[in-house]
Symmetry: none
Subunit: 412 residues, 2 copies
């Protein structure tokens, strides 16, 4: 079946935001075995939006529209779909109640325009929005299927994955299954070189690499009549990848993040963890506390931005700071050791570095970061040189800190 | 004049890459005063690409195509443009020589398909590529203009900025300027309702609202002959918005984030700040430390996930925890007061809540969050009920904490 994407929003046409939704939806549609020949972006304009819907319906089987479901006058997607199909918009009582509950529970005033979100074209399947007020919609029409999703990615992504994908998956026989082999601590080009032979001869299953900060995910995808057959096709490839990348493989589960893999390892080994951060300012503890249930292992976390805080909270010596400077191997080491001993954590991660844009020197340039990890009394410190802007340096530091901690805990 | 973008490449349709080129080109076109009504993505397929070019030429004055200029058989953009216009492709001797020099100077062998890149449609202006081998092209035709750019961003961006923008700028006089009025602590639909009258009568300048967690940005855009005239058009609207939203306006500067506005306010008032976080696990301190120069005001930050940490690090009383529970107004208050007094910060933000998915009860459901803010000895605590998943609850909490801190500091 052929799918087509239409992203609705003047903010995309103006270049105010990058259309990451389209990339997400395309990838998911490809994984579902749907062919996508066209994507388009159109503004909040009735004539042009109706025209684009009409054209897409003539040449594709499935039309996925994102954006323009909000409460304002600008939001026209639902109205245009109804117009093109010659359907009326009817009040959906279930959605009306959900919107009312949403506002009442927060003690917010309900403005008149909010009720607009409770209307749906005749015959539409209404999809609850767990992360916002605009419901999604599936409108089946003459053997074709129009899907409407809210624009904010934090609403669109879970709605598509949890509610729309099962619907699309049911439209055609056969299944497409995939497993993601998640790697950390090994670069993208190294991974690609190491699997070139596998990629060159691939047909079914296929292997597709995706890089993110500090990680590479290898998605293995198989087409078959049923899940069991797909799994049989995938298993030899997955095992080969595990053999080639060994301890770099941190999970085969799409839902397991790097921080979750670390937390699970700590729970398994019955070790507590704490952090003391300078340039990352709490980003490492924020990553760790993404994991539900982290309270079983998480002890105290500190942001010690100033020298005073480093001394007072984790006992870094004044002489060490004076002699080597705050961004140094020695200070990173004392931060980790101090945290572990003063606050009794089995694992202590410490970070000190220069995230920029200011504060760099010839000797200690922007991007220089030291990460120390103390595990049951043994401390290792590594020096890193990251490039990019402040945000990029901080994100890289967080990823490396989690990987380093995982390595140290695995080795003990 | 109306511009339209067509991005060519199967890798975009498959979701393997995010179409950042479109965002870049859109923003630049908006800055040039060009109106963009449509963007599309089409694969490396002759029939569909020719169709898209034909459609775009019928409805737009300027067509910008990116991608598909490479040496392989898959690369069809130039060929399709020539076909649609009924023009021949001719060898461009200047480009041929540049390609030859490129390969010879690197000692690479020239494969036959590389010469394909030296051909251009009759009457085209050839644009040298300083960062690759595929030249860009400008094809003027019947009062319309077709621009062809290579797909890799490191080739496309400099070529567009340095060589294509001056061409486009010469087509029409005038500029488009915009200013963003950034609001916090007021909901999108409330903002929309409050400016309905302004939006309904708008022509030049226009006002466009964009929502993000805890914030609404109002972009005011004017077209005029020059920047000064555009500014004169925008000023009354900006002043009216400032009048209507008062203290909710935290900046008129596109680059100033909410956390930067708070940090600037603290620097101005010479106040230090610290944080003590439970459910947000360091996300508030991470936001604050996004701001270069925050070290002037940032004191100690703590993540006190456990009751023990709350007692030990910021002096919450055991009786308070036993009587009211960790997620309570009383504990939030003691966390803020304890941080301020024990660690001598002028402003203390404290957060305790239930981010889920587990840990909720009927009395204290997932999404219940208390945020306390102590400013120079005066502590205010607010209760919030957030919805959505763990991440959404945490993000909302961070935004509200920053807004609450800003409010408290402004009021003192």
């Amino acid at each position: 079946m052929v799918v087509e994407l239409i992203s609705v929003g003047t903010e995309i046409l103006l270049g105010n935001i990058v259309n990451t939704n389209a990339a997400f939806l395309s990838e998911k549609c490809a994984a579902l075995g749907l062919s996508c020949y066209y994507q388009s972006v159109v503004g909040d304009n009735e004539e042009r939006l109706c025209g684009s819907i009409q054209t897409a319906l003539e040449r594709s089987d499935i039309l996925i529209l994102s954006g323009g479901l909000g409460p304002t006058q600008d939001d026209l997607t639902k109205e245009c779909v109804a117009k093109v199909l010659g359907k009326e918009l009817l009040l959906d009582e279930h959605s009306r109640k959900r919107i009312e509950d949403f506002f009442v529970s927060r003690g917010y005033e309900i403005t008149e325009n909010n009720w607009k979100q409770a209307y749906a074209p005749e015959g539409a399947i209404v999809i609850d929005n767990e992360n916002g007020t605009a419901p999604g919609l599936i409108v089946p029409t003459n053997g074709k299927h129009i899907l409407l999703l809210p624009g904010p990615p934090n609403e669109l992504i879970p709605m598509f994955e949890n509610q729309m994908m099962p619907y699309l998956n049911g439209l055609e026989p056969g299944v497409i299954c995939s497993t993601t082999v998640k790697l950390c601590g090994v670069g993208e080009s190294k991974v690609e070189t190491d699997i070139l032979d596998l990629i060159e001869k691939q047909t079914n299953p296929t292997i597709a690499p995706y890089a993110k900060t500090g990680e590479v995910h290898l998605r293995v995808t198989a087409k078959a009549d049923n899940e069991e057959q797909a799994d049989t096709l995938m298993q030899p490839v997955i095992q080969e990848l595990q053999k080639r990348f060994g301890k770099h493989v941190y999970s085969l589960d799409e839902k397991v993040t790097l921080e979750k893999a670390l937390v699970d390892l700590l729970i398994e080994k019955e070790l507590t963890i704490g952090t003391v951060e300078s340039c990352t300012g709490g980003m490492i503890s924020a990553r760790l506390t993404n994991v539900p249930g982290v309270s079983a292992v998480l002890k105290n976390c500190f942001v010690t931005y100033s020298n005073k805080a480093k001394r007072k909270l984790v006992g870094v010596k004044k002489e060490t700071l004076d002699k080597h400077g705050a961004v140094s191997k020695q200070v990173a080491k004392e931060m980790a050791k101090g945290l572990a001993s003063l606050h009794k954590t089995d694992v202590a991660i410490a970070v000190t570095g220069i995230a920029g844009p200011d504060g760099g020197s010839e000797e200690k340039p922007v991007g220089l970061v030291y990460i120390a990890c103390c595990v049951c009394g043994v401390t290792t410190v590594k020096e890193y040189h990251f490039s990019g802007n402040r945000n990029k340096i901080r994100e890289n530091t967080v990823a490396r800190a989690l990987i380093q901690a995982r390595d140290c805990v695995m080795e003990m």
